[in-house]
């Protein structure tokens, strides 16, 4: 039984990786007090940029291009919400629509092309740990990058001065400004970081996971990432847990018929979206939990000073 589980768990991790990147990025953005609903759009822009770059420079080039493109895609959002103080949910939505259009527009030149993908690389020693080894340490290099990203984000937020400043800006921008921090600049940086991470998530999809370009290929993963941040109550470790749960759900629905679940595949494909709604309900029903963890200035434009 365990022998059969290992490949399923390993593919779960691969499926969860885009959610890890996009979710961690959005988490950092939201910690600074900015809610960016444009994750889906930035992921798509990262996906097409990564795919185009990977054709010339390989997967590594694709991932870098995805990060750069995602960060650039976040810039108009930053300018509007941070410099002009526009409504953040509406501007994020505009970014998603813009990203869908831009990626489809550029993507038309890349529709029928394909990439070789990336072979998994087993890390010596670590991969020989029973059960955990083959699940966690026989993955593609980009999955390892996601562990690194998690470690860095968690450490930065909890243990460093930068993390403290970021949280201060998100909790009370007035106080952070009063003690001399550049609120708007820090929010620009956090939002562009979120864009870069979403871009990496998209580039991973188009260069490693699938690997080809399909219009709208993110299929709502950007929105699921936004929901995961709420589910995680803005804590990186819980975000990882959530992402892996969702990865598991996408993989399980592929195997469901093998397990004797007699449901049409289209309805099983809807399971992750229904699950997103369910976890949102579970976590939101206790207002206190949300209010305690929510960055206090989330979504509120900061105008004076700066």
């Amino acid at each position: 039984m365990i022998e059969q589980l290992i490949p399923i768990l390993a593919t779960t991790l691969a499926a969860a990786t885009p959610l890890v990147f996009a979710g961690l990025g959005e988490l950092v953005t939201e910690k600074s007090g900015v809610i960016n609903l444009g994750v889906e759009g930035m992921m798509l822009v990262g996906a097409i940029a990564g795919f185009a770059a990977a054709l010339h420079w390989g997967v590594a080039g694709g991932i870098v291009a995805g990060a750069v493109a995602g960060a650039l895609a976040a810039l108009p959002f930053c300018f509007l919400t941070l410099s002009l103080g526009t409504n953040q949910p509406a501007t994020g939505l505009a970014l998603t629509i813009f990203g869908i259009g831009l990626s489809a527009f550029i993507g038309q030149f890349y529709v029928s092309q394909s990439l070789p993908g990336l072979q998994p690389y087993a890390i010596p020693l670590l991969s020989s740990i029973p059960l955990l080894g083959p699940v966690f340490f026989e993955q593609s290099a980009v999955v390892y990058l996601s562990y690194l990203a998690f470690g860095l984000v968690a450490w930065m937020l909890a243990r460093t001065r930068w993390g403290l400043i970021l949280r201060a800006v998100g909790e009370s921008p007035e106080a952070a400004h009063a003690i001399g921090y550049h609120v708007i600049g820090i929010r620009y940086a956090a939002t562009c970081f979120g864009g870069a991470m979403a871009g990496i998530a998209g580039a991973y999809l188009s260069t490693v996971y699938t690997p080809l370009w399909v219009q709208n290929m993110t299929a709502g993963r950007g929105w699921i990432a936004v929901a995961l941040v709420v589910f995680a109550t803005w804590k990186p470790a819980r975000l990882m847990l959530g992402a892996y749960l969702f990865g598991g759900m996408t993989i399980l629905q592929l195997h469901a018929q093998g397990f004797g679940v007699d449901l049409p595949s289209q309805l099983l494909a809807a399971v992750p979206y229904v699950a997103t709604i369910l976890v949102l309900v579970l976590i939101s029903r206790d207002r206190k939990v949300l209010l305690l963890n929510l960055p206090a200035s989330l979504g509120k434009p900061y105008i004076s000073g700066g």
């Binding site: 509007l80 002009l84 970014l95 629509i97 813009f98 708007i184 929105w223 049409p264 809807a270 979206y273």
Partner: protein
């Protein structure tokens, strides 16, 4: 980095100037994109905005596309005014189309005047329920309606794909995922012989004055608006925040559902996977560009419909991808939000000299 300062009073001029300004900026950006692609911007504008309207057929297509956009946006605007952000109108549209198609499929072969009204009613109920679900989750479990409405959109599209691929697939057809073609009693009749515009446009024509009356005259609309503008004042006055959520989401679900029913029983004439050209999302932009005002929405709905038709025309005659209309929609909303910032704010008017002097002082210190 901040370049704005608050105005004393919101600028009424900017409030009405912002949409035309945003449209101009979008056109400029579009011209730049066309030029980058090596197409003449003037020719592209001609193909996009003038050519479609040179023939009666173009006007018919314009109204055919504007009608669902305007209808959905009327419902959305009601919620947006109350700060209830239903961004899943696409799913409510699909549910409306599914329910209406169900009626059409199970009454196939029957005749009677009641079939079409029953379809519209089924569409309204389907869309309304798909809107009521997030309202229930919001009022009872505090779940963010932006995310739940959007997620239900994906669920609706998989439901559609299951229905047209399985139980409702046309048994006589090839393996295409589509239902039977609806019979005549289950279709809106064309308004003019030979053109696609159908009588469902009268539903929209009726809805606009109704919404205008509701928004400008009813006490409930006033309560909704106060709930959005000043939640604390609304609470103090005893206006129910829960009811605001319910009304906003159900009304916008019903309008989207009716639009979906009209799409299935109109230009498409069957239930297919590619039923919606993204009207549910475009309607969000229509609502915003129309200033959330029933009459403004009519104008912006016509504009967005023109972008849709222009996109199709540009695809045929200039080999531009149809995704370009999404790109323009996104830019339009960006520019509008940017222009809107100048309703409440203005550019900092501090003279540069003063600023440089301060800067020099800071550096000395």
């Amino acid at each position: 980095m901040q370049i704005l300062e608050p105005r004393g009073n919101p600028s009424q001029l900017m409030r009405w100037l912002a949409p035309p300004l945003a449209i101009m900026l979008t056109l400029l950006a579009a011209a730049a994109i066309f030029a980058l692609l090596g197409k003449s911007p003037l020719q592209a504008f001609y193909v996009f905005f003038i050519e479609p309207l040179e023939y009666a057929n173009g006007w018919s297509e314009l109204l055919l596309k504007a009608s669902p956009l305007i209808l959905i946006a009327q419902g959305l605007a009601l919620g947006f005014r109350a700060r209830v952000y239903n961004i899943g109108a696409e799913g409510q549209f699909l549910l409306g189309a599914i329910c209406a198609s169900g009626v059409a499929i199970y009454t196939d072969g029957m005749t009677g005047w009641w079939i079409l009204p029953a379809m519209v009613l089924a569409g309204a109920i389907g869309g309304g329920l798909w809107g009521a679900l997030p309202a229930w989750l919001k009022t009872h479990y505090n779940a963010e309606e932006t995310l739940t409405t959007l997620m239900l959109g994906y669920v609706a599209s998989y439901l559609l794909s299951w229905l047209v691929g399985g139980p409702w697939r046309d048994p006589a057809g090839t393996n295409f995922p589509q239902s039977i073609l609806f019979s005549e009693p289950a279709m809106f009749a064309p308004v003019f012989e030979g053109l696609r515009l159908n009588s469902s446009v009268f539903i929209t024509a009726l809805a606009v004055p109704l919404f205008w009356l509701f928004v400008s005259k009813s006490f409930m609309a006033y309560q909704l608006a106060v709930g959005g503008e000043a939640p604390a004042a609304a609470r103090y006055a005893g206006f129910s925040a829960r009811r605001t959520v319910w009304v906003s989401l159900i009304v916008s679900g019903v309008t989207a559902g009716i639009a979906g029913a009209a799409e299935a029983a109109g230009p498409v004439g069957q239930l297919t996977l590619s039923l919606s050209p993204g009207y549910g999302f475009a309607a969000i932009i229509v609502a915003w560009v129309g200033r959330l005002h029933p009459v403004g929405i009519v104008l912006s709905g016509l504009l967005l419909a023109l972008i849709y038709i222009g996109g199709e025309a540009a695809q045929v005659s200039m080999q531009l991808p149809s995704a370009i209309s999404w790109l323009f929609q996104g830019m339009l909303l960006f520019f509008l939000l940017g222009a809107d910032a100048f309703v409440d704010f203005r550019l900092k008017r501090r003279p540069l000299k003063l600023w440089l002097k301060d800067r020099a002082k800071e550096q000395e210190a």
